[in-house]
């Protein structure tokens, strides 16, 4: 797993789960892959072993990982679950985007307008390449 660059103003166990989910979505981790033991992971990211335990328990509870006695912890998620996670993460980003835009006073039409303009610019940039 990658080095966790956590935000100390948010629950660390949740950030461990999010980091794991991001790696699944990016394909850096796939079904059946072995992940570090709780102790190894705690040492790698310098986090309290109880916090790591809580994150691992939650990963197992939501069906993303499973621990096989004597063998270790493995990624369990199938492609359907991974695409659901990807969708949920995208929804989160969109929710934050809309909430921020609303707080700046942008109405729906204005948001559509800026999005369209941005998409056109991106398209232009790609054609120029």
């Amino acid at each position: 797993m990658s080095q966790l660059d956590y935000d100390t103003s948010k629950a660390i166990y949740k950030q461990i789960i999010e980091d794991f989910q991001k790696q699944l979505v990016r394909g850096e981790l796939g079904p059946g892959d072995k992940i570090p033991s709780q102790r190894e992971y705690a040492l790698k990211v310098s986090v309290n072993p109880n916090t790591v335990q809580r994150a691992y328990q939650e990963l197992e509870r939501i069906g993303l990982a499973e621990t096989i006695r004597g063998q270790g912890t493995f990624v369990k998620a199938d492609t359907t679950l991974i695409s659901e996670i990807r969708q949920a993460m995208a929804d989160d980003i969109l929710n934050r985007f809309f909430a921020e835009m609303n707080s700046l006073g942008y109405a729906k039409e204005q948001i559509t307008e800026v999005l369209n303009r941005r998409l056109m610019e991106m398209k232009g940039a790609t054609t120029n390449d």
């Binding site: 660390i12 990211v45 986090v47 072993p49 109880n50 916090t51």
Partner: protein, 232 residues
């Protein structure tokens, strides 16, 4: 379980502990935070049985601290090792003194912390001396580790080594580590449970993760907030 019940302690005109009540549960890494002079060291020494409350009482697993010293490995803030000792002599002393000394762990940690047994306490750097104090404390299989300011005045790489040693050897469920420090930044991700104290009283306490979730702040920010309210 370590319990403080209405503990008061005065040194001359200074009220070091003021009706302090708290409980340190098992299986956790606990942070005791507060500014210099808040009462952290007084509380730590009391658990180690090195000073007595004026009022109230302190219990370690239901016993008075002076009867439970075998359960407590204490790392004091001061330099308590003789300068003329080598690390080996200090370890020999600990080995003869404490039945829970774990030689295998000590040998492993020598390598992990890059220490050599022939190092002479008076000849090594402050960071190395801090690591010597640490190895002598954590090589005991004591149910309670008390670390009083284990990171203060030490360079960042050594601080990381110390924190990783604690993570590496922490025995979940059966051990408690209590760390007092005024440098909360260093231990944000290390502690489970926190107690912020000032003028011998608890200002804020709770689970580190729950405090982050409910307040949306880091432990450092929570402490700043708490003390701002205290001073007003």
């Amino acid at each position: 379980m370590i319990e403080f019940d209405q503990v008061g302690k005065r040194f001359g005109s200074i009220q070091a502990l003021d009706q302090l009540s708290l409980q340190f549960g098992p299986g956790k890494i606990i942070g005791l935070f507060g500014p210099n002079g808040a009462g952290k060291s007084t509380a730590m020494k009391m658990i180690a049985g090195l000073n007595q409350p004026d009022s109230g009482h302190v219990l370690v697993d239901g016993q008075k601290p002076r009867h439970s010293r075998v359960k407590i490995a204490f790392l004091p803030e001061i330099d308590h090792l003789y300068g003329w000792w080598t690390l080996k002599q200090a370890a020999d002393f600990m080995r003869s003194f404490y039945a829970d000394w774990d030689d295998r762990k000590y040998t492993e940690l020598l390598g992990f912390l890059n220490l050599r047994e022939d190092m002479k306490i008076s000849k090594i750097s402050k960071g190395q001396r801090a690591k010597c104090k640490l190895i002598l404390t954590v090589s005991r299989r004591a149910p309670y580790l008390l670390l009083d300011e284990p990171l203060s005045g030490i360079d960042i790489l050594t601080r990381e080594e110390i924190i990783n040693t604690l993570i590496r050897d922490f025995r979940e469920g059966e051990q408690s580590i209590i760390i007092s420090t005024h440098e909360i930044n260093d231990v944000e991700s290390l502690v489970d449970e926190v107690f912020f104290i000032d003028q011998g009283r608890i200002v804020v306490s709770g689970s580190a993760e729950e405090l982050r979730i409910t307040q949306g702040l880091s432990l450092v920010e929570i402490m700043k907030e708490a003390f701002r309210h205290v001073q007003q």
